[in-house]
Symmetry: C2
Subunit: 197 residues, 2 copies
């Protein structure tokens, strides 16, 4: 950055590329992301990243994996202390929406449909880890008798889908971050209560 620490050629590229790529994504969006631009910012030649990322798609794949990993960590941290099921769901959704608000471009990369076959497995693993939480919350809730019976996986999908939908609305700008906090609570309350009378 400001520091001209010109190690000869080498440094920990790949990590540096990933870091800078996420920055660009957050600050300027997806179209502003160019391999040459990143290389320029890092002070390496334009083809240097190709040693670590075969393709631009490979970079996107790596960004998606890193994104899901970080999302998982964020949720782990958010759910470190637990309360009632409703509270926990709100906490979970809130953490997710904060992530979506702070990284809309990254989120759309994560849910892009271009992942290579090989990266797909890695991504699927990270997704499973990040999305295991609601199912776990529901399983616990069932054990405490707070939650209706049924396959926690199935019920978890509903919760996950609702929150993911909200995240999409926030990420696409149809809902402002301010509105999202209220909506989130409404959605969780509605989910808990159910629609039928």
């Amino acid at each position: 950055m400001t520091e001209t620490m010109t190690r000869y050629h080498h440094g920990d590229l790949r990590a540096a590329v990933l870091r800078r790529a996420e920055e660009v994504l957050r600050e300027s969006g997806t179209d502003a992301l160019s391999l040459r631009g990143i290389a320029r910012d890092l002070g390496v030649s334009h083809a240097a990243p190709s040693a670590h990322f075969r393709d631009k798609n490979a970079l996107f794949d790596a960004l998606a994996v890193a994104g899901f990993r970080r999302l998982g960590e964020v949720m782990d941290a958010a759910l470190a202390t637990r309360g009632s099921l409703t509270d926990d769901l709100v906490t979970f959704a809130s953490a997710y929406l904060d992530f979506a608000t702070d990284n809309p471009a990254l989120l759309s990369v994560m849910f892009a449909r271009k992942h290579s076959e090989t990266a797909g497995a890695e991504i699927a693993e990270a997704v499973a880890a990040a999305f295991a939480h609601p199912t776990a919350l529901l399983t616990d809730g069932q054990a405490r008798g707070e939650v209706v019976d049924g396959d926690p996986e199935v019920i978890g999908v509903t919760v996950l889908a609702a929150i993911q939908g909200l995240a999409t609305f926030v990420g696409s700008g149809f809902v402002t971050p301010e509105q999202s906090q209220r909506m989130l609570e409404d959605v969780v309350a509605t989910l808990m209560r159910g629609l039928a009378r």
Copy 2:
């Protein structure tokens, strides 16, 4: 209209560009979409589309508007005949997921965050029209005493978010279209029943 378009130079470009752009989006995805490629396919010069679309972003904006309009029509058609609330919700969700399955790239364009200020209003209108249905369904359900009381807007957001989340999962490939049909029914059932016990 069955008339072949190739008049002199002119024809109904703009419409032709939009049509071809949707085709490319459906058949080859977003990165395969290039203004020059479309112009080539239509047999016009590479700069011809610029008369109708200032930017590539302007084309994306127009695609998003057209997409939401068509989505609204699809839902109108699907909900022409009505049944029980549960059936109607399944019908609605099914129509949405079919759309998402058939046009994943278009869907991601529709929910991209790059819409220009001017197109934003047009899009918002189309979105409101397309997404008014679940709220209407719930209002009717409330009138019949099938649905819990409360602001239909608020409850509608939950339904919409859940379905949108499923659509995202399908569109990104995490869920196959075959799985989505079962999930959809599970999600609607869970929504109706509620989580609390």
